[in-house]
Amino acid sequence: MSSNTVRGGTMSSRKLRWAGVRNRSHLAVRVLTIGLFVGVCVLFAAMSPIFLMPSNLLNIVRQTALLAIMSFGMVSVIIVTHGEADMSVGGITGLSAAVAVVLLVRGAPTALSILAAIATGLAAGLLNGILVTKVGLLPFLATLATMNMAMGLEQVLTKGTYVPFADPFIGFVANENFLGVPASAFLLLLVYLAFYSLLDHMPTGRKIYAIGGNLQAARASGIDVAKYTVLTFALSGLSCGLAGVLLVGRLSGLTPLAAAPLLLDVLLAGYISSILSSVGAPSVSGALFGAMLVGVLSNGLAVIRVPTFYVNLVKGLLIIIVVAANALQRRRRSIS
C-alpha cells in the first residue's frame, strides 16, 4: 500500500510540472494562430471597406462552407495516416460535380444527381483506401494517382468546357439565405456535427486516432487497421462528393477543374488544425477554424485586390510555415 501512496504522490507532482511546460509552448502557438486570424481580419477591414460589409461576410461563409466540408475529410486522413494528406480532394470534388451536372443536364431528378455525386466521391475515396491498405501504395502516391484519374474523367464528362445548369434546390443551398443565414452554413453545421461526433465521441473515432497514433498499438488492441483506414479515406471522398454538389450550385453549372485549386486551401486548413491541437493530433474543430482562416484569407486578399499569383505565393508560404510549426512541435515532443 505504501508504494501506492508514493506512486500517487509522484504522479500528481509530475503531472503538474508536465502540464506547465506543455501548456506554455502550445498556448504560444495557439495565441499566435488565433492572433493571426484576428490580425488578418483587422488588416483587411482597414484596407477595404468592402471586407466588413454584411454581404461580403455572408459570402465568406458560403465560400468557407465548401472548403470546410472538404477539410473534415482531409483532417480524418491526416489523423489516420499520422500526418499524410489526401491529395485527391480537389480532383474528387470536381469529378463529383461533373457527375451531378451531367446528370442534371440530361434531365435526372435533383435528388438522384446529388446521390450520384456523393456516391462518386465515396467510390473514389474507397479506391484511395484500397490502394493504400490492400495494394500498399503510399497515401501520397495513391491519392495523387486518384486525383489525376478523377480530373481526367471530369474533363471527359464535361468535354472540357463550362456546362451551365441552374438547379433551384442546389442553387438555394449554395447561394441563398435561410432565416437570414446562408443555407450552406446549416449544411456545414450538420456535416461538422457528424464528423465531430464520429471522431471525438464515437468508438470509430477512437480507432482512427489510435491507428494514426501508433499502428502497432492499434493492431495489438484488436483494431482492424485496414478497415478503418479504408473507412477514413472513404469519408474523405464522401465529403468531397458533398462539396462537389455545392460547387455546382456556386458556379450554376461546372467549369472543368474549378475545384483543383481547392487542394491547397484544404491542405492548409487541415495542417492548421494540427498545430492548434495540444497533443499533436489534429481535430475536426481545428479543421473548421483552419477553413475559416483560409476562407477569410482568400476572400480578404481578393477584396483588397491582390493579384491571384501573389495569393498563391502567400498560401504556399503559409503551408510551409504551418507544416514547419507542426514538425517543430513534434520534435519537441519526441525530446521531452
Binding site: 501506492n4 506512486r7 504522479m11 503531472k15 464515437m202 468508438p203 488492441s221 497533443v279
Partner: protein, 501 residues
C-alpha cells in the same frame, strides 16, 4: 487433465532461419507456465503464432478444444487470450482512460461515448486490478515506462481473459512493482486464470511458476515441474553453460581519470551529480526506476540539455551539447531503448555497425566497401552475432543479437568511455555473458565503462565501484568490497538521505 492450450508440431521458417522446428507446447488450466529459452530460441515466434500475428508453416493450435489456426489477432483475443507484449505499444496522445477502453468504450446511446463513465470506470479498474492511483485523464506520453506498462496490464485484464501471456513483464519495473505484479498473477491463478510467463529472470520463475517449458534453437528441450528443478539445472538446459560463468569479471589495471563530471543538473530529475571514471574501470550506477540514472547518462552524452554542470575528458574541460560532440570526445552510449535509439532496424547489420565511423572507412568520399565488409565480418565473428550475413536486416535478428550490433557500432569507432544503459534487458543468459565479456575487453583495452543497471547481481558482479542514485542524487559510493545487495537497496530506497522531501 485436459490441456487448455495445445500447440503441436509448430514449424515456422523465415528467410534463412528456421525459427521453430516441430515445437509442442501444452498448458493445463490454472497453472503458471514459464516459457524459457535463449534469445533466438523461438519463444517470441511461438507466442506470435499463438496471437495470430504469424501463420505457422506446419502444426496446430488448439485452445479450449477449438482450433485457432488462421484466426486474426482480434479473433484470438475474443476467445479469451490476452497478451502483455514485450515491446510496450501505446498511443502517445491518448489519455490513460482512452487507452484502457480503446475498442470497448462505454456508450450513452446513439453511438456516442459516455466520457464521464469511461473515466470513472477507468479509475475504478486501475484501483481494482493493480491498486494503481494513476489519473485516468493523464496522457500516456506523460507516464513513466513502468506506469505505461501497468496501464497496459490493467487493460489486458479488464476483459477477464482465461489465458494471459506475459512476455517479460518485469523488465522495467522496480522491486515494489514486481511484488505487486506477482501478487496480481497469484490472485489471477487463484481465480482459475491460466498464465504463460516468459522471463529471463530465473528467480522470478522459481517464485511464481508451476511448470516450465524450455526451448533451444527452435526445438523443445523439455517441460518440467519447477519445484523439482534448480536454477543451475534450467540454465544448463537453456544454454549448456554453468551459472557461475555469468559474471566474467575482468580485472584491468585502473589508471588516470578519463571522465570527470561535476555538478550535473537537470530540473528535479538530475541534481548536482559529480563523479569520476578512471581508465580501465567499470563504474556501476544502481538505482530503482525513476532514480534518474538514464536521465543522468543522457546528459553526459549530450542527448538532453543540462541546466548546469561541466565535463572533463582526460583532464581537459569539454563542451558537450549534442551526441555528436560526445562521440567526437570518444564517449559512446548504448541506450536503454534498443530498437528506438540503438539500431536502425530497416538497415543491414553492416550499415548499422559502420554508421558512426563511416569516415574511417571512406576514401575520397566513397565508402571503401572491401575494408568495411572485412571489419564488420570480424565483429560478427568476434561477438558471435547470429545473422545469416552482414547484409541481413537488423530487424530479423533477436534482441540479444541486435544489442551486439549496437556494441559493434561503438567498438568500431574508438570510444574512450562507453556508457551501457540497462544493456541486458530482454536478453538471454548466453548473450548477456558475451556482452559482459565485451565490457571486460573494453576496460582491458584502456577504456572506461559506465554500467547503468537495475539488476543487483549484474552491478555487483561487474563493477569496480558503484554509485547509487536516489531521486536524481548520488546517495552512496561503494567500492567493490563494500557493496552488498542489502546496502545497494538501502541507499537506492533513500536510506541515509537526510533531507527527503
Amino acid at each position: 487433465m485436459a490441456a487448455l492450450l495445445e500447440m503441436k508440431g509448430i514449424r515456422k521458417e523465415f528467410p534463412g532461419v528456421v525459427a521453430l522446428d516441430g515445437v509442442d507446447f501444452s498448458v493445463v488450466p490454472g497453472e503458471i507456465h514459464a516459457l524459457l529459452g535463449e534469445n533466438g530460441a523461438g519463444k517470441s515466434t511461438l507466442i506470435k503464432i499463438l496471437a495470430g500475428l504469424y501463420t505457422p508453416d506446419r502444426g496446430t493450435v488448439v485452445f479450449r478444444g477449438e482450433q485457432l489456426n488462421g484466426l486474426s489477432p482480434q479473433q484470438v483475443q475474443a476467445r479469451g487470450i490476452a497478451f502483455i507484449h514485450q515491446e510496450r505499444a501505446y498511443i502517445p496522445y491518448f489519455t490513460v482512460g482512452q487507452t484502457l477502453f480503446l475498442g470497448r468504450e462505454p456508450s450513452r446511446g446513439a453511438g456516442l461515448i459516455d466520457w464521464p463513465r469511461l473515466y470513472r470506470k477507468a479509475s475504478e479498474e486501475l484501483v481494482r486490478i493493480l491498486g494503481l492511483e494513476i489519473d485516468p485523464h493523464a496522457p500516456m506520453e506523460s507516464l513513466t515506462v513502468s506506469e505505461k506498462q501497468l496501464v497496459d496490464i490493467t487493460k489486458a485484464l479488464i476483459t477477464n481473459p482465461s489465458l494471459i501471456v506475459f512476455d517479460e513483464p518485469t523488465g522495467p519495473l522496480s522491486e515494489g512493482e514486481i511484488e505487486r505484479l506477482f501478487a496480481v498473477i497469484k490472485r489471477l491463478k487463484s481465480q482459475g486464470v491460466t498464465v504463460v510467463y516468459i522471463s529471463h529472470r530465473l528467480d522470478e520463475v522459481f517464485q511464481i511458476c508451476d511448470r516450465a517449458t524450455v526451448l533451444k534453437d527452435g526445438k523443445n528441450v523439455t517441460t518440467l515441474e519447477v519445484k523439482d528443478a534448480t536454477p543451475d539445472g534450467i540454465v544448463r538446459l537453456m544454454v549448456g553453460k554453468e551459472l557461475k560463468e555469468k559474471f566474467p569479471k575482468v580485472v584491468a589495471s585502473i589508471g588516470d581519470p578519463i571522465l570527470e563530471v561535476s555538478n550535473l543538473c537537470r530540473g528535479h530529475v538530475v541534481r548536482n551529480v559529480s563523479f569520476k571514471l578512471r581508465r580501465g574501470e567499470i563504474l556501476g550506477i544502481y538505482g530503482l526506476v525513476g532514480a534518474g540514472r538514464t536521465e543522468m547518462v543522457r546528459l553526459v552524452f549530450g542527448a538532453d540539455k543540462k541546466d548546469a554542470g561541466s565535463i572533463m575528458v582526460e583532464g581537459v574541460p569539454v563542451i558537450i551539447n549534442s551526441p555528436r560532440e560526445a562521440i567526437d570526445q570518444g564517449i559512446a552510449l548504448v541506450p536503454e531503448d534498443r530498437r528506438g535509439q540503438g539500431v536502425i532496424v530497416e538497415m543491414s547489420v553492416r550499415d548499422n555497425v559502420t554508421l558512426p565511423s563511416l569516415k574511417g572507412f571512406s576514401r575520397a568520399g566513397f565508402v571503401a566497401s572491401r575494408r568495411e565488409r572485412a571489419a564488420v565480418q570480424n565483429f560478427v565473428k568476434q561477438l558471435n552475432i547470429k545473422t545469416p550475413g552482414i547484409d541481413h536486416f537488423v530487424k530479423y535478428l533477436s534482441g540479444g543479437n541486435q544489442q551486439k550490433v549496437v556494441l559493434s557500432k561503438w567498438l568500431c569507432g574508438s570510444a574512450k568511455v562507453v556508457i551501457f544503459d540497462q544493456p541486458t534487458i530482454g536478453i538471454d543468459v548466453g548473450a548477456k555473458t558475451e556482452i559482459y565479456r565485451l565490457m571486460g575487453k573494453l576496460v582491458s583495452d584502456g577504456a572506461g565503462v559506465i554500467l547503468v543497471s537495475s539488476e543487483i547481481p549484474e552491478v555487483l558482479g561487474l563493477s569496480d565501484r558503484i554509485l547509487v542514485m536516489y531521486r536524481g542524487r548520488i546517495t552512496a559510493e561503494l567500492s567493490r568490497e563494500e557493496a552488498t545487495p542489502d546496502r545497494l537497496l538501502f541507499y537506492a530506497m533513500g536510506g541515509g538521505v537526510a533531507d527527503v522531501q
